[in-house]
Subunit: 217 residues, 2 copies
DNA sequence: ACGTGTGAACCGATTCACAGCA
DNA sequence: TGCTGTGAATCGGTTCACACGT
């Protein structure tokens, strides 16, 4: 989607590598539930559509985690990936826009296993303010900067209609948000460097499906 | 995310190109609403994080749509992109899993402008079956194959818990579904060739945000 | 023997830079 | 002059293929 580039002072890995690491972690956790203890790069990448060389190379950027001739110990690799990805403490998220999508995300059960939790939700609809959704109280937009600052929240989620997304993003960054997951179908432009924005645009994804439908053999 | 590769008999463009075309289309429509009539590659790519050369090259794969020395006529380019992407008729979508996320998608207002519409929804929860959500009646899973076949539906959306996603995907493909947008956080493996699966995994996206948060300067 | 880890080769995608046209 | 369209150059990411360790 949009060019996403953020570099640390030291080594700089492309977001693609990191996304694949998250995928590996996700599937390793599934394997762990199935009580698989050791897995080879060949086996794990059969499920994903990724080559085994890619898997090994991705890991090699960060260290040596396998045993030659054997494979990878699932629980060990999970721990190592969690270290790499920064899953060593809880990460709080502030969500703006408690419409249908925002409410769905507030109740999404996939976050806790990655130590992610939405701890604050904001909307400008008087009818929603004060209500609790999935245990999170909806507050007014005016309260947002204070809540974000007080809680030291660094991750924001934008679920507002497109015309409001840009200004919400700016206000979030002003309050201290360092990275944003944007569900609004617009491009957000931020002046500040070092803010990472990821976009989830379902209509664009579907559009791509339609293109390939038309072109299929 | 996963390696997504589908080729037509003739020219084969990477999904990345197609996703960018959808992005261009989305932003062009926004420009049209703001009554912008002509735009240069420089101007439109300032909003997105894409180089103007990239924009011009992407379009050049499909034809010549601009005027040298002038730029691109917004309404003309919109029409051309709609042709390229296949937005010449309505595309029906079958959704499985009417939980929070499924319900949110049923009410999502961003689809119609791309001639996408969810026309069928399925769940195995007796309490949901028979109810209408955003005007779509929820049917039982048993009815799915028949409804998909009868309606000639080719696009599926999976919003079920991860452990059910694989089998739902297989049943969808068996019923005639040709491409799938998967929201369940698992890898889906399909034997059939020529089926395009796109994955939306919010936890993975957030994971990537967290990684860059940790690494920031 | 087996599967990892990795430099080297490869390939595709992005960017450059300028010719071509309004 | 200004901006498009596009071959050529570049860059980065993926794959290959094999040395290495168990």
């Amino acid at each position: 989607m949009q060019k996403e580039k953020v570099c640390s002072k030291k080594k700089c890995f492309s977001p693609e590598v990191i996304k694949r690491l998250s995928l590996y972690l996700r599937d390793l956790k599934n394997l762990q539930e199935q009580e698989v203890e050791v897995i080879s790069s060949d086996e794990i990448t059969k499920m994903l559509d990724i080559s085994s060389a890619q898997f090994r190379k991705d890991l090699s950027y960060f260290g040596e985690f396998g045993k030659r001739g054997v494979g990878y110990e699932v629980s060990f690799l999970i721990r190592e990936l969690e270290k790499i990805l920064g899953i060593y403490r809880w990460w709080d998220i502030a969500l703006v826009g408690v419409g249908r999508l925002g409410s769905a995300l507030l109740g999404f059960s996939g976050f806790p296993q990655f130590k992610l939790r939405i701890t604050a939700a904001f909307d400008n609809d008087r009818k929603k303010i004060g209500k609790a959704i999935s245990g999170v109280e909806v507050k007014s937009l005016e309260e947002m900067p204070a809540v974000i600052k007080k809680g030291g929240i660094e991750i924001g989620m934008i679920c507002v209609p497109p015309q409001f997304a840009q200004s919400i993003a700016e206000r979030m960054v002003g309050a201290g948000i360092k990275s944003i997951l944007n569900f609004a179908p617009v491009s957000i432009k931020l002046p500040a460097e070092g803010i990472y924005i990821a976009n989830v645009d379902m209509a664009c994804e579907l559009q791509t499906l339609v293109y390939f439908l038309n072109r299929r053999h």
